[in-house]
């Protein structure tokens, strides 16, 4: 009798505690890593209207970086590495992929001026003056406001954004840098990509709440691969940005959309990768969800016919 009672009490105790060790069976974690760009990717020669030229290495030449997690990547099949996955339904459509997740480093943003549609990425400008001078002085394509007047200082952009977006701090809209490294100074070191001093620039990324998958036979997890969409030479625009969609602001006109990324960038990367973009030549293959020091280098300049 007492044995049975003991057994019953043990069972009850076990049941009572059973909730403590509950495992969903999902491996979900915040996956962090680093993306490295060679200096060449942010170096460009500008020919000015006065006949002079200058070669600049500037983070403002870094476009949005798109990172995707793919089941597998096959190298050497195309001109540049791209995820080769699963069935291709439409003949001649390479990379009809089914990514597991992804993120970007720097988002295409609307800095409240129609003329900046699809031309500004977050995490690239120290302040609004840096934005204004980049377009006026370097690109020689000054920003114009809703009335078509040239914007001559960064404060004007900031004020316009206050009016349109009602924001209360720089963190809220992330158009310009905040004191990310907490050194009480806002400078180039607070941007996404920071000069490593060894000819490379590096940025951190986080894939929030990513579910992890792994092939039980090979022990290999999914593959991290990505590319940087460099701004076009001619117009300094990003071709991953869809100008017909996005935030709509009637300040300009009812037909104007602020632009946003295409929604299938990670599914059909080859549709958007153009010459001048930088692609990861050596994708990173995860060994476990807890891999540390995950780094991929966008070292492969795309050449697309």
């Amino acid at each position: 009798m007492s044995n049975k009672l003991n057994a019953a009490l043990s069972l009850v105790g076990a049941l009572a505690l059973s909730g403590c060790g509950f495992k969903e069976g999902l491996e979900i974690s915040d996956m962090k890593g680093t993306v490295v760009l060679p200096e060449e990717a942010l170096t460009r020669t500008f020919f000015h209207s006065d006949g002079s030229s200058e070669t600049l290495t500037d983070p403002r030449l870094i476009g949005p970086v798109y990172l995707g997690l793919y089941p597998s990547v096959e190298e050497g099949v195309q001109e540049y590495p791209y995820p080769e996955v699963g069935p291709v339904f439409e003949e001649g459509t390479p990379g009809d992929t089914f990514p597991y997740g992804g993120t970007s480093i720097g988002d295409i943003r609307f800095p409240c001026m129609e003329s900046l549609q699809c031309r500004v990425v977050s995490g690239r400008y120290v302040d609004f003056d840096a934005m204004q001078s980049w377009f006026s002085d370097v690109l020689e394509d000054p920003i114009s406001d809703a009335q078509g007047e040239e914007v001559t200082n960064g404060d004007y952009i900031a004020e316009t954004c206050f009016e349109i977006l009602h924001y209360t701090s720089e963190e809220e809209i992330r158009l310009t840098a905040t004191d990310r490294n907490e050194d009480d100074v806002i400078n180039l070191k607070d941007l996404d990509f920071v000069d490593q001093g060894d000819g490379t620039w590096a940025a951190e990324f986080t894939l929030w709440q990513q579910e992890y998958f792994q092939d039980e036979e090979t022990g290999k997890g999914f593959t991290l691969w990505g590319w940087m969409d460099a701004p076009s030479e001619s117009a300094y625009k990003f071709n991953t940005c869809d100008p017909t969609k996005g935030y709509k602001d009637d300040t300009y006109n009812s037909d104007f959309f602020a632009g946003r990324p295409y929604e299938d960038l990670l599914n059909f990367p080859s549709k958007y990768i153009t010459s001048g973009d930088w692609v990861s030549g050596t994708p990173y293959v995860y060994q476990s969800a807890d891999d540390e020091n995950v780094t991929i280098t966008l070292d492969f300049p795309a050449q697309v016919n």
Binding site: P71, S72, V85, G86, P87, F98, Y100, F213, Q214, D215, E216, G221, F222
Partner: protein, 296 residues
Amino acid sequence: MRTSGLCVLAGLFGSLVACDYTGDWLFAPPTDAPGVVHLGELVPTVIDGETSIDEAVIYGEIGATGTAEPGGVTFSFEGTGGPVCVWVDPELVFWNQSVAPQAGSDDARWAYPDNVFDDGDLDLYAGYAVYYSGSPGEKMGDFEIRYEDSLGNQIPLTLNECTISGLNGTGAHSGRGAPESCTLAATLPGVSYMVAIEAWSTPLDDDRLSYGLILAEGDCDDIRNGITEECVILGEARDADGEMIPDSSTFEVTYCANVEGADALVDYCETEAETYDCSVDHCFCGDPDNTPTLLE
């Protein structure tokens, strides 16, 4: 005291139950036209000088299932090695008054409500018969399968090979009364294909939807040969005996003329409204008087 109290309670309970409905009457009552039809194995027709489109049309009728389960028509055919066109046209035309005229125009009385006589809608799907999940003649299915990627993840895939072209742009199904067609390019010889025509809706007045159907060798664009889509198959509006409803093809032709630029349909509708009592008779343009009473 107790007895009368219980009687009051019982009475109240009864009245409560009487007020509570299940709403089952909102389902179409079963008709003698079946809700799910299998036409068996069909052979693609060759439309040429000897066989015209009209001769190639198969007319039929389906009813409502009477439940939330969708109904429809299926048939199979064997691949020819070349393209095969499937064309289906439910009664009558893709037009309802609610979307027709400009506000404030003289035709505005046709603006509302919908014409319940022609609001049946058929959606066309086709693919390899092996991928079809339904039970022909009993239960409609689809062409969905799951693909397992290299990490063992299941990716849902649609293997419907029928990409609708025409009236509503590529890849989208059309609305009520409108034809749908697709060309299955390069069908494999000897391989069985299944065509599933799902009844999105049947007309609300009688829940009987008649249709015309073509299965033909070749590309749909070639078969259509420039004819307005709605007029490729004419006279598909049929009564329960399979007889064409009088004037229905005239209405279709007028409609097509309108699409092609003539301003004929308003006159047709006005004449029809003058000739018939549309609250009782079968008016293709609907009942212009069936508009809500405005607030005083």
